[in-house]
């Protein structure tokens, strides 16, 4: 409890992820759902970087990264997660703009033309 360990960061990641899922499930605004998706991606990022940090040991696994240094796989993965999140937010907002131009509302319950 006094030494910040891996479990503390995993607890933060778990709480972020469940907040993201709760946002997706309870929002009717499409941009609110996009914010929930961003929360889930952040939770995954915190998870990855926490595992990367706590896997640095003096043993064999510790020094097999780039240039013989520690492993940085989690950090680079999270970097690409951030890039993909930005790209996905741009496309999602373009779709939302088109939806708003056609329906004059950003409410997701108005998107029911394909309903059977």
């Amino acid at each position: 409890m006094f030494e910040i360990g891996l479990h503390h960061y995993l607890l933060v990641s778990i709480l972020l992820m469940s907040a993201g899922v709760g946002t997706i499930l309870t929002k009717r605004n499409a941009i609110g759902i996009l914010i929930g998706v961003e929360l889930i991606l952040n939770a995954a990022g915190v998870n990855l970087v926490a595992f990367n940090n706590f896997s640095w040991s003096g043993g064999a696994h510790g020094s097999s990264g780039v240039l013989g240094g520690p492993v940085i796989d989690g950090v680079v993965f999270t970097m690409f997660v951030i890039v993909l999140a930005a790209a996905e937010a741009a496309i999602a907002l373009a779709i939302f703009l088109n939806f708003y131009n056609n329906h004059s509302s950003i409410d997701v319950t108005k998107a029911d033309e394909l309903k059977g």
């Binding site: 929930g36 690409f80 741009a90 496309i91």
Partner: protein, 161 residues
């Protein structure tokens, strides 16, 4: 101690997004969440990633979301809220998911390493890695960003008809 500050800011802002009904307030709480996550990255010896998170995520994606809020709100005081049963069900599912994941994490043996030496700067390794070990994802991400830029600009263009 600093960990508890950043973690508290991150988690409380994230759950404030769930509770809030106003879309602009949700964007502000997301900004606080992203800032708290960047602080956590600083504590995990990932300085370059924390800077990238602040510049790209909080300073790019969040601004994009705020632009989206501006362009899709006819009435500035509009409040679209779900019914209370939907909100209760959603929050219960989120809490159940959190409990399930917490159970999984606490019951699994996770062994941690000894940490990294002081004065380690990660930016050199990341820079070398992006051009040697992680070259293929780097190039693919570049092509993907080009495609996304063209696609989003085309989809969101002003229709003159």
């Amino acid at each position: 101690m600093l960990f508890y500050a950043f973690a508290l800011v991150t988690v409380v802002s994230a759950w404030a997004i769930v509770v809030s009904q106003n879309i602009v307030r949700m964007a502000v709480y997301l900004l606080l969440t992203l800032g708290g996550a960047a602080g956590l990255y600083f504590m995990l010896h990932a300085e370059l990633l924390a800077a990238i998170q602040l510049i790209v995520y909080a300073g790019g994606t969040l601004i994009l979301i705020v632009f989206g809020v501006m362009l899709t709100s006819k009435n500035p005081f509009i409040r679209t809220e779900a019914s209370s049963t939907e909100i209760a069900t959603g929050v219960m599912v989120a809490i159940a998911l959190a409990a399930l994941m917490l159970l999984a994490v606490l019951n699994s043996p996770l062994e941690t390493g000894a940490g990294v030496e002081q004065g380690y700067h990660q930016i050199r390794d990341v820079g070398h890695g992006l051009l040697s070990t992680y070259l293929v994802p780097f190039e693919i991400a570049a092509v993907l960003l080009l495609v996304v830029m063209i696609g989003a600009a085309y989809m969101a263009r002003r229709r003159t008809d």
